[in-house]
């Protein structure tokens, strides 16, 4: 669940677009956007403000809408709204410029808006802007039909992006999907996505490309923001930039384009509020002129990139918090959580699980004599060899240094756990090639089985740790079961209960 919750922001934006873009007049589009954005963020209050007037709102009874306070939020003079019956509620606002500038305001009881949610509100404001622009440019019937078709195509592209993100597809694929989508929707030959490595960087690298000459994205082209490229200008100015005419195109576009580029347009991409890149479309059609509607479409797509990047970065950050950076195994905290869950599961169905605590023998000698790099390499190989012995549902963790822990999610008894321990001992005992040396590393393993009512994860690990010391005391390369005397590879430890 936790992994999927992060794709919620994209989903909410697409839902908003689906609902709002089906509106046939401005008033219902605005009211729909207001209510849908409140729904998505579980906010009690939402309002749309045009020309310092609240034109649509929800959360206050009619006649009791605090117009001045809501307008003050749009001017950033207030950061909360007083809602009768609830009290002071943290507020957030997003604005859009263009020919019909406006603001979206939301307020929620008891839960300030996170950075990602602020991004989402900005994305929602863009969707409303896009819809209003579309509605306002409709004059004749065929335009209405074309516009509806266009919105449908936009939705289909966004569905594809949303699906890719919710299924945790590779970030590069997601960015390719978005870049392709923008290019396809706008009917242009070229789509590009430039991304800065960090917010301070004066350079951006190419993260996705569609319709260009062949590009090796493992060694991506880099642009200097100070160069007069359309992408650089969009990133520096934080706005959509349009260039018409062959002579105004940047050197990079001329290089990447399959033919002569006559028009290009770039929209800034944000991550957590800062400009982190630019989404670019470019055309080889001599007569291509970008309309305000095209600008809105690109901007809506750029907001999707923003959410995708935020989403992907969140996943990376979460993974870093929960996994050992060197071996990729679960962190101690994550392991204890997994153990806690599995203990509850076996507790309810009367099963048994086992915890193995592993300590490498001679690791310190190798680290001291061959260096840290060799030590790291040895730990990585060890982690791979341990996980190779596990079944689906089992889990391995590096607890730090040369200590590892393993959870066998279901065992038929001590003999079953000892068989796995024996396999791990054998697997680690085989020579490994590290830093041009052929090394053999022994391991001592302590085993503890669940069984007592109300087993605590930490306690179970502590028992396995105790048993490991007993195994070590008996000599290297063996295992011991907590609380029992067992035969095992020459060692016969007995740890008192």
């Amino acid at each position: 669940m936790a992994g999927l919750a992060e794709s919620l922001y994209i989903q909410q934006l697409v839902e908003l677009l689906a609902v709002v873009s089906s509106s046939t007049d401005e008033a219902s589009a605005v009211q729909n956007a207001v209510e849908r954005s409140a729904q998505a963020l579980e906010a009690e209050v939402a309002a749309a403000v045009f020309d310092d007037k609240v034109v649509a709102s929800i959360g206050f009874p009619p006649g009791a809408v605090p117009h001045e306070e809501i307008v003050a939020v749009t001017r950033r003079r207030r950061s909360a709204l007083d809602v009768p019956g609830l009290g002071s509620c943290p507020a957030v606002t997003a604005s859009w410029a263009g020919s019909h500038p406006g603001h979206l305001v939301l307020a929620r009881w008891d839960a300030p808006f996170q950075v990602e949610e602020q991004n989402l509100v900005r994305g929602m404001a863009r969707v409303l802007e896009l819809t209003l622009t579309m509605l306002r440019t409709l004059t004749v019937e065929h335009a209405i039909r074309e516009s509806l078709e266009e919105r449908q195509r936009l939705l289909e592209h966004l569905f594809t992006i949303q699906r890719a993100i919710s299924r945790r597809e590779d970030l590069r694929q997601i960015l390719d999907t978005i870049t392709n989508g923008a290019r396809d929707l706008l009917g242009d030959e070229i789509g590009l996505l430039w991304v800065r490595d960090d917010a301070e960087s004066g350079r951006a690298r190419l993260a996705a490309a569609a319709g260009t000459r062949p590009v090796d994205l493992d060694h991506p082209p880099v642009v200097d923001l100070a160069d007069a490229s359309v992408a650089g200008e969009a990133m520096v100015a934080d706005r959509v930039v349009v260039r018409h005419g062959q002579e105004t195109q940047s050197r990079m576009l001329k290089l990447l384009g399959p033919g002569t580029v006559y028009a290009s347009m770039a929209a800034p991409v944000h991550d957590s509020g800062a400009v982190t890149g630019a989404l670019v479309v470019a055309s080889c059609d001599r007569d291509r002129i970008y309309t305000p509607g095209d600008e809105q479409t690109l901007r809506a797509f750029a907001e999707n990139v923003s959410l995708a990047l935020t989403d992907a970065n969140t996943v990376v950050r979460m993974r870093q918090a929960h996994h050992d950076a060197l071996t990729g195994l679960a962190s101690r905290r994550l392991f204890l959580e997994q153990l806690d869950q599995q203990l509850a599961a076996v507790d309810s169905d009367g099963g048994t699980l086992a915890v193995l605590f592993l300590d490498l023998d001679r690791f310190k000698d190798i680290n001291d004599s061959l260096g840290h790099a060799a030590g790291d390499q040895l730990l990585t190989v060890t982690a791979d060899r341990i996980t190779a012995q596990l079944r689906a549902g089992d889990a391995a963790s590096r607890f730090g240094g040369d200590e590892f822990a393993v959870m066998l999610s279901r065992v038929d008894g001590p003999a079953d756990a000892m068989a796995v321990a024996g396999r791990i001992v054998a697997a680690l005992g085989k020579p490994m090639r590290v830093a041009q040396h052929r090394l053999r590393v022994g391991v001592s393993i302590g085993i503890a089985l669940s069984g007592a009512d109300g087993d605590e994860p930490a306690e179970l690990v502590a028992r396995a740790d105790l048993a490991m010391y007993e195994a070590k005391r008996r000599g290297t390369g063996g295992y011991a079961l907590y609380g029992e005397t067992v035969p095992g590879d020459g060692t016969r430890p007995a740890v008192p209960r």
Partner: protein
């Protein structure tokens, strides 16, 4: 009751009566008399099995408690002390000088659900006590119940909690009825503004969990899901659940299968359950039911079992009682989803009743099995499927 509580009781009380007499008028009168346990009755909430003669029920109620405001509805089973029942008239009475009640009805609701919700919320203007809730009873066969609730929210804003349920007809799906004083109504909404000098609180929970990978609602209209992941919704849904072959071709087999397997919709604070079992279109291969699902939504198939559902029973009761902020409760209204009966079975709903009795202790409680539950504390939504909704009064 302790003597020292009598004064409090006289200011705010709740009573529950139930009768399983077969004569509808006599059953109603009997239940009302049992429910009237205090002075100054302000509201009678009548839950009648669909098998009863509804006109006779209301005549019986009026005869036993002339002049007392009445609201109520038909059910898919009545909830109360002594366990769940089918075929009874069960009545909750509220009264005392510390309570105020105003009721209102909107008719011809279909096609103007939002406006109807807005209208019935108008009764809130007639009460003055500080702690308030709008209780809403709807016709469970009217589509787009969310819009009714949204209409109430538009009128009242964030400060007033919402509670209620959708009238049921024992799975006949031919006509559920609402009661307002002497009238039997369909295609209507009833609002009851309940205001008290002491806290009133709402709690709600469902007991389902998601299964497998999410799907995206790629086309939806009129409360129906047309496609999931760009394929016909009916087929995608059934494939995900390894449904038996007859569920693909027989509407009643589909409903029986789908009742206990709602579609989950991702929301910020969790996954909401949506019952899509009742309006299957075998030709168009689409599914529909009590709750709207919008295009773009991330959805899962969901399953639950007796244990998870009874945990939700506990959660909803605890949530409502905790929100009373330490005030002694005087009674609860408990609205449970009709679809839960399909998962729990007769034994399971008996155990659900036992859980409710455990939370209620000596205080009265009553409710019914609904075609949709209404409960809102925060956010702007409040229409639910597959939940238990609890209103606790202190």
């Amino acid at each position: 009751m302790r003597i020292s509580d009598k004064e409090v009781h006289d200011r705010r009380w709740m009573g529950v009566g139930r009768s399983s007499l077969s004569d509808s008028g006599a059953a109603a009168a009997d239940a009302v008399r049992r429910a009237l346990t205090g002075p100054d009755p302000k509201l009678l909430v009548v839950f009648a099995a669909i098998t009863h003669d509804t006109e006779a029920v209301l005549a019986g109620v009026a005869g036993a408690a002339p002049g007392v405001p009445v609201i109520g509805c038909t059910t898919h089973g009545e909830i109360g002390p002594g366990g769940p029942a089918d075929g009874t008239v069960t009545v909750a009475a509220l009264g005392g000088a510390g309570l105020e009640v105003a009721t209102c009805v909107a008719e011809h609701v279909s096609g103007r659900q939002g406006d109807a919700g807005y209208e019935v919320a108008g009764c809130m203007r007639q009460v003055t006590q500080p702690h308030r809730v709008l209780m809403v009873l709807t016709d469970g066969l009217v589509r787009d119940q969310e819009s009714i609730v949204r209409g109430c929210y538009r009128a009242l804003g964030a400060g007033i909690p919402l509670f209620g349920g959708a009238a049921a007809d024992g799975w006949r799906m031919s006509g559920a009825y609402l009661f307002k004083d002497g009238q039997v109504l369909t295609d209507a909404v009833i609002g009851a503004a309940i205001a008290s000098e002491a806290p009133i609180a709402v709690g709600v929970r469902h007991g389902y969990r998601t299964v497998g990978q999410p799907m995206i609602v790629t086309r939806a209209a009129d409360g129906r899901v047309l496609t999931l992941d760009d394929r016909p919704a009916l087929d995608v849904y059934l494939e995900r659940l390894n449904a038996p072959p007859q569920a693909y071709t027989d509407p009643s087999a589909f409903t029986a299968f789908a009742l206990s397997r709602p579609l989950g919709v991702q929301r910020r604070s969790g996954v909401e359950a949506r019952n899509l079992s009742t309006e299957v279109d075998l030709e168009g291969r689409s599914i529909g039911g009590g709750g709207a699902i919008d295009p773009g939504g991330l959805t899962w198939v969901m399953t639950g079992d007796e244990e998870s559902i009874l945990d939700a029973t506990d959660g909803a009761c605890q949530d409502a009682l905790d929100r009373l902020a330490g005030h002694e409760p005087i009674g609860m209204l408990t609205f449970s989803c009709a679809a839960l009966r399909a998962v729990l079975g007769d034994e399971g709903i008996r155990r659900e009743g036992e859980r409710l009795e455990r939370w209620a202790g000596t205080m009265p409680f009553a409710g019914f099995y609904t075609y949709g539950e209404i409960a809102r504390n925060h956010g702007i939504d409040g229409f639910h499927n597959q939940t238990l909704a609890v209103l606790a009064l202190s």
